[in-house]
């Protein structure tokens, strides 16, 4: 049974139809945390986040507190919030920006205060037209309410927050590409080192980039203390987390569950959560953390939803997106579509990614649509090996950013787990499911 007694930290207003309004937000404890934070030293606020051990909710899972304290000695110029949610089948930030924009805004103000920056940007997917409207409205309301702008709630702290729309490019979720886009350029990831925008970020100045969900956790952490957050979950994976469940499940959706205390099986099968597989079919495989992550088979359903637990089995919890495939799903087609996505979204800077993604996509296309050859299967593995040598996890990198090494994940997993399906596609001269 799923453990569902943990407090709702970021979805506490999910039952209110007007959850996005200032009136509802104030009615349900909104901006209390900010007022409290403003009475504390900025370092004390940061210390609470550190104590919470809040892992970044964007995909890499870097501890937010450490991201902040790394820069303690050199003042930070800008806070940038990453709302460019584009990892396929991830839709939790979409939920947060549309349904609880004030919670995000309050989190941003708290973070800005802790970091003592006076300028923040919320970079949001351009496709979130309603999200852009809701967050801008929340900011407008916050300015009018005195929670944002000059001398917030009568303190000495001032902050300006600008919502910045993206324009349809997956790569802009990579933080250095996001910064390039925010500077008005093509979203080309920057060469590392420096590894962190904290060193050289927006306009070359120290910048902190945090995810929307990470920010949305901050009001609760300030209100209840970092220790209360750290008491939830287990190991390094503290607190609750939003999981976006999609694919062949009865109730796809965004669910906030306590980390580690619940397993993939709980999330997929609990009647209050995923509710099981459509038509009660058998699960064939699932992707545990966005399409960049290696796949798992049903034997790993009892693995806890924790960052290190999933990493220990050779994949990642990533963006918190779980995609379920059942016995009716064609894995070859799934891999082909995922690779087509990467091929389309590769920014084109690095040869292994730009050429490799297209080459793999063409090989996958002929396997799925007819014309595939038996030697294509090993050719695919060879191509993957050229992008991420050794096909290890975490992958070796031959490219500027991690988009390249994400390409082999699905190809390699599927061939390892379902080689027979690939062979059947060759023998059948296309997809036998059709």
């Amino acid at each position: 049974m799923a453990a569902l007694d943990a407090p709702r930290i970021v979805t506490s207003r999910r039952d209110f139809a007007d959850s996005f309004t200032l009136a509802r937000y104030l009615d349900t404890g909104g901006y209390v945390a900010l007022k409290k934070a403003l009475t504390m030293f900025p370092e004390a606020v940061a210390a609470e986040v550190d104590a919470a051990s809040l892992l970044g909710r964007g995909g890499a899972g870097f501890p937010a507190g450490r991201k902040w304290s790394m820069l303690r000695k050199s003042p930070i110029s800008y806070l940038v919030v990453n709302g460019d949610e584009s990892e396929p089948a991830t839709f939790k930030d979409h939920y947060l920006v549309e349904r609880d924009p004030h919670q995000l805004v309050e989190g941003v103000i708290i973070a800005a205060y802790a970091l003592q920056v006076n300028q923040a940007f919320i970079f949001m997917r351009g496709e979130f037209a309603l999200g852009l409207e809701r967050v801008q409205q929340a900011l407008n309301d916050a300015y009018a309410h005195g929670a944002l702008g000059s001398k917030i709630f009568g303190s000495d702290f001032s902050l300006d927050v600008v919502v910045h729309p993206g324009a349809g490019a997956y790569i802009c979720g990579e933080e250095t590409a996001l910064i390039e886009a925010l500077e008005g350029k093509r979203g080309f990831p920057r060469i590392k080192p420096p590894f962190f925008p904290a060193v050289t970020g927006l306009y070359g100045e120290p910048t902190v980039v945090n995810n929307v969900e990470t920010m949305s956790n901050l009001p609760w952490i300030v209100n209840n203390g970092g220790a209360a957050f750290a008491a939830l979950g287990g190991g390094r994976s503290t607190g609750t987390r939003l999981f976006a469940l999609a694919g062949r499940v009865k109730n796809p959706g965004v669910y906030e569950v306590e980390m580690v205390k619940n397993t993939f099986r709980d999330l997929i099968y609990d009647p209050q959560l995923g509710g099981g597989i459509i038509d009660d079919k058998q699960i064939k495989a699932f992707i545990p953390g966005g399409v960049s992550a290696p796949w798992f088979g049903p034997e790993l359903l009892d693995l806890p939803l924790g960052q290190d637990e999933v990493a220990g089995e050779g994949s990642m919890l990533g963006s918190g997106s779980i995609v379920v495939m059942d016995e009716t799903s064609c894995v070859v087609r799934a891999v082909w579509r995922i690779t087509k996505f990467f091929s389309r979204e590769s920014c084109g800077q690095c040869t292994p990614c730009r050429e490799g993604s297209g080459w793999i996509e063409r090989a996958m296309y002929r396997l799925e649509h007819g014309g595939g050859r038996m030697e294509d299967i090993d050719l695919l593995l060879d191509l993957c090996d050229n992008i991420a040598p050794g096909l290890t996890w975490p992958p070796q990198q031959t490219t500027i950013c991690v988009l390249g090494p994400s390409i082999p994940s699905s190809v390699h997993s599927a061939i390892q787990m379902f080689r027979d399906d690939f062979v059947a596609h060759v023998q059948h001269g296309g997809c036998p499911h059709e």
Binding site: F41, E43, K73, P75, E85, S86, P88, A89, T90, F91, H94, Q116, N118, R125, G126, E127, F128, A129, L130, L132, E133, Q136, L139, N140, Y143, A144, L148, G149, S150, D156, F157, S158, D160, V162, V163, P165, G166, A167, G168, A169, Y170, E183, G184, K185, R186, Y203, A244, L245, A246, G247, R248, P252, I287, V323, R333, A334, I338, F341, E345, C347
Partner: protein
């Protein structure tokens, strides 16, 4: 004489003023250009170049990187159907095929009456209601051929104008409030805050 009509031009100037450097306003300005013209016209691109202090070639080179910007004219309604993994598992490909038949145009092209442009999109982050369909970047949430057809007919009859406004993802985004009126004050506060923090860090280190 500006190519942007006065309302758009005013919003454009306000956008430029929000950023420490004008070039940062590139993407929002391109959204505005598209809002006015439906796509990025040569005149719109020249206007954005002027406002950001760049060249039209630079603007075009940047815009062409991003899927949401149209360098050629498109229909009044851009219909996007997602076929990425979650939608694929929900029959997204077949759905796209159906949409193409209904609209009477191949994927990536515009219907003869100029009303609809059909696009195959990547994940639109609404995967619990799959296959995901957006029209002018508004989720219309039609997941069956029947509801899709009804939605298209309503669009054609102008019955969905409220739910699906015309181009421009910022068409209903208006900013009020902000710090920009007192920049000097902000700068002074920032210097003071940094000094105070340095002092605390120093005393803590001791």
């Amino acid at each position: 004489m500006s190519h942007f009509r006065s309302e758009i031009y005013q919003r454009a100037e306000e956008l430029v003023a929000l950023y420490p450097r004008p070039r940062s306003a590139m993407l929002p300005l391109l959204h505005l250009a598209q809002e006015q013209d439906g796509y990025l016209s040569d005149e719109g691109i020249a206007e954005v170049a002027e406002l950001t202090g760049t060249t039209p070639a630079d603007v075009r080179g940047t815009a062409s990187f991003y899927d949401m910007f149209h360098l050629e004219p498109v229909g009044k309604y851009v219909v996007g159907v997602c076929t990425n993994i979650a939608c694929l598992l929900a029959g997204g490909e077949e759905f796209l095929e159906h949409a193409s038949k209904k609209l009477g145009c191949p994927v990536g092209s515009t219907s003869e009456d100029g009303l609809f442009t059909l696009e195959e999109t990547e994940c639109l982050a609404d995967c619990n209601i799959a296959p995901v369909v957006q029209v002018n970047h508004r989720y219309v949430r039609t997941t069956t051929p029947e509801t899709f057809d009804a939605m298209i007919d309503e669009l054609r009859d102008g019955k969905l104008d409220h739910d699906v406004p015309s181009h421009g993802t910022l068409i209903r985004v208006r900013r009020s409030g902000g710090l920009r009126a007192s920049r000097q004050e902000v700068a002074d506060q920032r210097i003071a805050a940094k000094a105070a923090r340095d002092q605390r860090v120093e005393s803590e280190a001791k």
